[in-house]
């Protein structure tokens, strides 16, 4: 009798979640990011020397090397070089002219990648850290024809210069710099290699020393010191040098930036130029832009910046006389600007991007070859804010005497990387999202307000609720004109469109949630979960000094107000979720925990709990980890964790009662000496340990994630082979029950209330351990509105750059061991326990996308019960909608509106056609006699 019901239950439990082919690229979204590109490691390069098509290569501040297609901004390939102990800003990337590889260096590794597909060509490790890296443009007999060698300058205990073979990655010669000077840069002319080292004098000044080397043998030809006198006190005022330009130069300024000194490397005289001021605003930054090709004209541009304006001056080098002369200057323009250098044959072009304008000039004369007004950049900026260009790279096509096309990849002060083609933006990449440190889901205030009104009606007495409802409906009539005018659009959307087409408000399913992301540079960016490729708003929340971090965390997002706490003076900021504005003072509310609640926090390696408002100061309990143990992580049960049923209904209609305490936390500790990890389930009110487990032989360098939800917990670790377990990665799932006897509540039988403080009942824990194919770096659980939908365990797999959604039925600790499940257990969807779980490719939420370095996943319920919104951030940004028990309350993509209408229409036609036939037949049967 209850077979159909059982079947329905089984269907709910066995729901294999999968990515449907028709939803795969539409409901999920992904920003494949690189991070903020650095000026000196970003360039256009042709991956295939025989073709003219070029890609944009960059090594970002996040230590990711990648290539981007300039046509649409799509990522072609990327390799992450991130490493904990290497500062991300010390990286180099070079592409030799006509080479099919790009060479990069970070830390003490120099690596060459295939420019077209990003595969490794060779890699070498040097004992010291890489200080500079250049591609030797000149060719000699010792190298493979067509392949250019690389010169690497390293620091460390024995600073040295290496020449590395471009084809094999084998070092050809090494020259050690052994006189205690600091290696600074390496440069090459057509005949010599120059190492620029810094010599610290006794007075603390810096002297620039140039060592010239023979490129074939690596022997020293010459060594001399430049007369920089006392003006050079720190390396900050040395301006980087265009390395392989026809005539390499080194330039520096004094500390006050009033004099510019230029030296042509290889000569000893230093040219000196005065730097002018602009309306009493001193120059704050000087940059140098020179062509990188040996056969181009020896011209360069110096870019001056003050607080309010910027300008450029073009200099020519007379190679015969070894003289530097100023050729012309480009006018001062308010605001920041970016200059970029491009070459075409021997000619050099400078492209200037400033507020509202793009201009290209030839290095030979100041006449503009092309000038375009800059259209709207398509970047959301806050009121009163201007998206300023920070740096740019350009590619210029020249036809005859004029510039026919110019493409510039510009990095903006908002953290976006955009491509401008002749003044109109082509694509935008929000690279600042690669540094997202905290994110939260929020509902727009309008949606929240409506939900509150409905709640008001539900909780007041019937009469006042009725009056409230009538007044609300009368108020709704005011919106009639708006509704009527949007009606045709709505009908059209209903017929052909999807839910994602509607705006933030009027969202019936709750898919349009605002996702606010706080980024490393002090900005907050908001995305719409159902329309994610359009950024809702972006705002500089805090002005940070260079090198300062602000550790933002979102505290709450109730009532559509985002509350952000950050480390700069432990301040709190509030934003309106849908606009990013600071809410009016009336809306600001300070949320204080009510008196009597127990708060717990980590202090100096121990866990401490305090009672809010209690007179006696001091902790009510402390959790001290055992000797040699340190606390790895603490995961409390989520605040919003609705549970639909207090028990688990078994196949024979009996019930196992879940151990549901709102005050649970899972604590993980590690012991570095014994290489063990312990997990404790704590009652956070009493501090009692409800369950503890220890695993030995654990790799403590590998990630150890854990999660806790409802009455179950999960954690993962990587372990060494032992007698009872093979080497590999493990996932452990534990479920807590009040008792393991069905229909019995154990010690809680007959009790209505129970307290954690008075003789708390301990849970009965069922545990299952599984071996998984790869390491898991983060665990999370889906959330739905009422918790009726079965939950899904989300796991981030860093090795395959993916996120899997594991159905709970697969890891259920009630899976029978050593025997096949009984008929009743089969009805529940339980299968026989196996020690191994293979991740089904259909569980991969990211399917074919590759999500790099995800540090956290957040989930949020939609308005409909079946669906949970998922958002993952870290380096990449990924989000999707999940229906762990399929979309039972919404017509999904599988419902074909057109087919339904066509069927109705066909039936109607059939009725009209067949109707007369039947009537005729009926008449005939009465009147016709055979």
């Amino acid at each position: 009798m209850h077979l159909p019901l059982l079947g329905a239950v089984a269907l709910l439990l066995q729901s294999t979640t999968a990515v449907f082919a028709d939803e795969a690229w539409t409901i999920d979204y992904h920003y494949a990011l690189l991070g903020a590109p650095k000026e000196e490691t970003t360039f256009f390069h042709q991956p295939n020397p025989s073709s003219r098509a070029s890609l944009i290569y960059t090594l970002s501040e996040e230590g990711v090397v990648g290539a981007v297609n300039p046509r649409d901004g799509a990522l072609v390939w990327r390799q992450s070089l991130k490493s904990a102990d290497i500062p991300s800003n010390a990286g180099f990337l070079r592409g030799g002219e006509g080479q099919d590889v790009v060479v990069g260096g970070i830390g003490n590794k120099t690596t060459a990648w295939s420019a077209a597909d990003g595969r490794l060509v060779w890699t070498i490790e040097t004992p010291g850290r890489i200080e500079d890296l250049e591609i030797l443009e000149l060719q000699d007999a010792s190298q493979t024809p067509g392949v250019k060698d690389t010169i690497v300058l390293t620091s460390g205990n024995s600073p040295s210069i290496l020449r590395v073979d471009g084809a094999s990655g084998v070092s050809k010669w090494t020259y050690s710099i052994d006189n205690g000077d600091i290696p600074y840069q390496v440069s090459a002319s057509a005949t010599e290699i120059f190492a620029i080292v810094l010599h610290k004098s006794l007075l603390g000044n810096i002297k620039i020393k140039v060592i010239s080397l023979d490129p074939v043998t690596g022997r020293k030809n010459d060594e001399y010191t430049l007369s920089s006198d006392s003006e050079l006190s720190s390396t900050e005022t040395i301006i980087s040098v265009g390395a392989n330009s026809a005539s390499p130069i080194i330039a520096w300024t004094d500390a006050a930036r009033t004099v510019l000194k230029v030296n042509i490397i290889g000569t000893k005289n230093v040219a000196s130029f005065n730097i002018e001021k602009h309306n009493e605003h001193g120059v704050t930054n000087v940059r140098l832009h020179a062509p990188f090709h040996t056969n181009s004209l020896a011209h360069f541009l110096v870019h001056f910046e003050t607080d309010i304006s910027h300008w450029g001056e073009v200099y020519h080098i007379d190679l015969k006389k070894s003289k530097v002369e100023k050729a012309y200057s480009l006018p001062k323009i308010n605001g920041k600007g970016a200059f970029s250098t491009s070459t075409s044959d021997a000619n050099v072009y400078f492209t200037r991007i400033s507020r509202g304008q793009v201009m290209t000039v030839s290095s030979a004369s100041h006449g503009s070859l092309g000038r375009w007004a800059l259209a709207d950049l398509g970047i959301p900026v806050a009121k009163g804010e201007e998206a300023e260009p920070i740096h740019a790279v350009s590619e210029v096509s020249v036809k005859g005497d004029s510039v026919s096309a110019v493409r510039s990849a510009v990095f903006l002060s908002t953290g976006d990387w955009i491509l401008i083609r002749e003044g109109s933006p082509v694509w935008q990449r929000p690279e600042l999202l690669a540094t997202t440190q905290s994110a939260i889901f929020a509902s727009p205030p309008e949606v929240e307000a409506f939900a509150q009104e409905l709640q008001l009606e539900a909780h007041s007495n019937p009469v006042s609720a009725y009056i409230h409802r009538v007044t609300r409906h009368i108020q709704d009539w005011q919106r009639l004109p708006v509704v009527l005018s949007s009606l045709p659009q709505k009908i059209r959307n209903q017929l052909f469109g999807t839910t994602a087409d509607s705006g933030l408000t009027g969202d019936v399913f709750g898919f349009h949630k605002v996702i606010a992301c706080a980024c490393k540079n002090g900005r907050v960016v908001a995305l719409d979960a159902a329309n994610p490729y359009k950024i809702l708003w972006s705002k500089q929340a805090v002005e940070l000094k260079a090198g300062e971090s602000w550790n933002p965390t979102f505290k709450s997002a109730s009532d559509g107000i985002l509350v952000l706490e950050h480390g700069v003076g432990l301040q709190q900021l509030q934003f309106d979720a849908s606009t990013g504005e600071v809410p009016s003072s009336g809306a600001i509310r300070v949320v204080n925990p009510s008196v009597g609640t127990v708060q717990f926090s980590l202090h100096d390696g121990e866990l401490e709990a305090n009672k809010v408002g209690s007179a006696a100061s001091g902790a009510i309990w402390r959790f001290l980890p055992g000797t040699g143990e340190r606390i790895l992580s603490l995961v409390p049960r989520p605040v919003n964790d609705p549970v639909a049923s207090i028990g688990k209904v078994l196949g024979d209609r009996r019930v196992l009662y879940k151990y549901l305490s709102p005050n649970l936390a899972l604590l993980a500790t590690a012991n570095d000496l014994t290489q063990t990890v312990s997990f404790y389930v704590l009652d956070t009110v009493s501090g009692a340990t409800l369950h503890a487990d220890t695993h030995s032989g654990v790799d403590l360098q590998a990630p150890i994630p854990s999660t806790l939800s409802e009455n179950w917990f999960a954690y993962s670790y990587t372990s060494e082979a032992s007698d009872d377990a093979p080497k590999g990665h493990y996932l452990v799932v534990g479920e807590m029950f009040e008792s393991l006897v069905p229909n019995d509540r154990g010690p809680l039988t007959g009790k209505v209330n129970s307290s954690s403080l008075q003789a708390p009942a301990e849970p009965f824990v069922m545990l299952r351990s599984y071996q998984v194919p790869e390491s898991v770096s983060k665990l999370a659980v889906t959330q739905t509105r009422q918790g009726i939908t079965s939950r899904q365990l989300l796991a981030v797999l860093p090795d395959s750059s993916s996120i899997v959604g594991i159905p709970y039925g697969v890891v259920d600790p009630r899976r029978p061991i050593g025997r096949d499940p009984t008929k009743e257990e089969q009805g529940e969807g339980l299968v026989r326990y196996g020690p191994n779980i293979e991740f089904d490719p259909k569980w991969y939420l990211n399917h074919q996308r590759e999500v790099l370095d995800i540090s956290n996943i957040i989930t949020s319920p939609a308005l409909i019960e079946s669906t949970s919104l998922v958002f993952a951030y870290g380096h990449d940004v990924f989000g999707t909608r999940l229906s762990p028990s399929f979309s039972f309350d919404i017509l999904g993509k599988d419902f074909n509106k057109f087919q339904m209408l066509a069927t109705v229409a066909a039936l109607a036609v059939a009725t009209f056609v067949v109707g007369p036939l039947v009537t005729r037949k009926q008449v005939n049967t009465r009147w016709q006699f055979a």
């Binding site: 595969r119 093979p726 750059s801 590759e850 006699f929």
Partner: protein, 235 residues
Amino acid sequence: MLAPKSLLLLAGAALSSAARLVVSIPSSQLLPNPSTLPSSTHAILLGPPGVRYDAPIRRDNTFVFNDIPDASYLLTLQSRDHFFPPLRVDVTKAPEEAAQTISAWQTFRGNEWSNKGPSYGTGKGDLIIAVNPIAQKDFYMVRGGFNLLSFFKNPMILMALGSGVLIFGMPYIMDNMDPEAKAEFEEMQKKSPLMGSQGAANQLQNFDLASWMAGRSAPAEGSGSAPSGGGGKKK
């Protein structure tokens, strides 16, 4: 990638070690052209706690691990579109020998570490092994959508269509037949066991439940009233 502490631990071993493992991916049935593997494909050599090497794919479809210290390793290959089998790699050094011995076997998740599968090879100081993918990742679930062809393949639909053709087509065929053939046809139908007044179908239609209940063995000859439209036409 390598923790400083374990680096120290291994430093002694690493000084003398020059063990080199090359994993190559040959062309196979599942992967006819290994050069199509994305550049994110990489191999992970997981050693004792804290030891882990990661090698990206090279241009020649290989992964190279240099200077591997003595230990027992788990080798996994990660690729966007393919699954590769997990391997166990042992690097050992006999005291009297100069070079390390590297051996590789297939291993099985959820089994003892000592449970080794087929050997992939053994080498002195240097080992090159070839690994083939075991499966292609199939990420997408295809909905059982509406398909006109499969709709018409359904036997029920075919039967319905067949009977539809008979109902609508028969009268026309009968009308267009010349009278002689028609008469002959009707005669034939009457004789057929299924049709006609003696036919099984007719008998079933005119089954007299009351008389059967009353115990009469067979209906009397001609007791069933002839249907007005004629058997053939009605059918």
